[in-house]
Symmetry: C2
Subunit: 196 residues, 2 copies
Amino acid sequence: MSKKIITISREFGSGGRYLGEKIAERLGMDYYDKEILVKVAEKTGLSQKYIEQMGEGAPHKHKYSYSFVGRNSEGVSMGDYMDSMQREVILEVAEKSPCVIIGRCADFILRERTDVLNIFICGNDKEKTDRIMELYKLSETEAHKLMKETNKKRRVHYEYYTEQRWGEACNYSICLNSSDIGYENCIDIICKLAEN
Amino acid sequence: MSKKIITISREFGSGGRYLGEKIAERLGMDYYDKEILVKVAEKTGLSQKYIEQMGEGAPHKHKYSYSFVGRNSEGVSMGDYMDSMQREVILEVAEKSPCVIIGRCADFILRERTDVLNIFICGNDKEKTDRIMELYKLSETEAHKLMKETNKKRRVHYEYYTEQRWGEACNYSICLNSSDIGYENCIDIICKLAEN
């Protein structure tokens, strides 16, 4: 197995983004997280902030995206339009050079390729909450609430666009619980698999 | 992380049992798959074949297990009685010596321990079907049907007894797709994690 693309889906607070950065660094791969949004903003002329809000939120959370005013001249909702732009960007960057892509249903978008290693990173509630408290300077209650809400959004977004279940083992090559396994072990395992 | 017990949940055809045997061999651990049934048979006086049929089948598949005639003198159904006996055996063997335990909700039964590495092995339909065809000398149609039925039974059994979702990444320390990763890589990764 020689993998040129690594996609990382992750529970909020599990350190998936951090792992992605470290893996890209170690393997000398390009890294795309918010960089995808910058490219979508360039493509569409929309603000990055707006795109970010539409991003991994569930489609039905954006009450205007499915209404008449939120549709473009071809009747496509803003949510679906943004999703198709994001899809285009992901296909383009995957074609360009070896890279790590965080979230955004990249595993599903690139499913026709055979050189993709699809990862899911999860974690235990305690460790995820602690990490969110530290990173975002929140109380335990606030961090726990933000974790639940963000993971719910990610789940609904993924399941809406892929019709697969988010976090179900069979949709990924490998799933790692970063609280149980530890960040360093996760990085080692993924780099070794990608290099093999 | 130093893990004395490895539990392996697995999709039928994914090679989970084979991996478990190899891991136990390499790490010098005891290995329990059908060995659990032998011990349950000794404990209950019931035949191993009967226990096997009740095993990972869904409780509702055994139409008599919940009827009046299928209950013991305390009104406990045969399915629940067998499950409690199996639970006792799993707790006993885990206490006795380092070991690998295949299936039987061992991850859930041992959830209070901190020295357990919980694994889920899945695979792609094509590779799983091929493996079942070879191992059981079946046609592709028969193998595919057996795979679907067996995995459905395992899912329902697991979800009935644990109230957790079978094959959902967050219930395990690590999930590996043996078709993507390859058996040797799976063995290496698991042994290294258990030894660390």
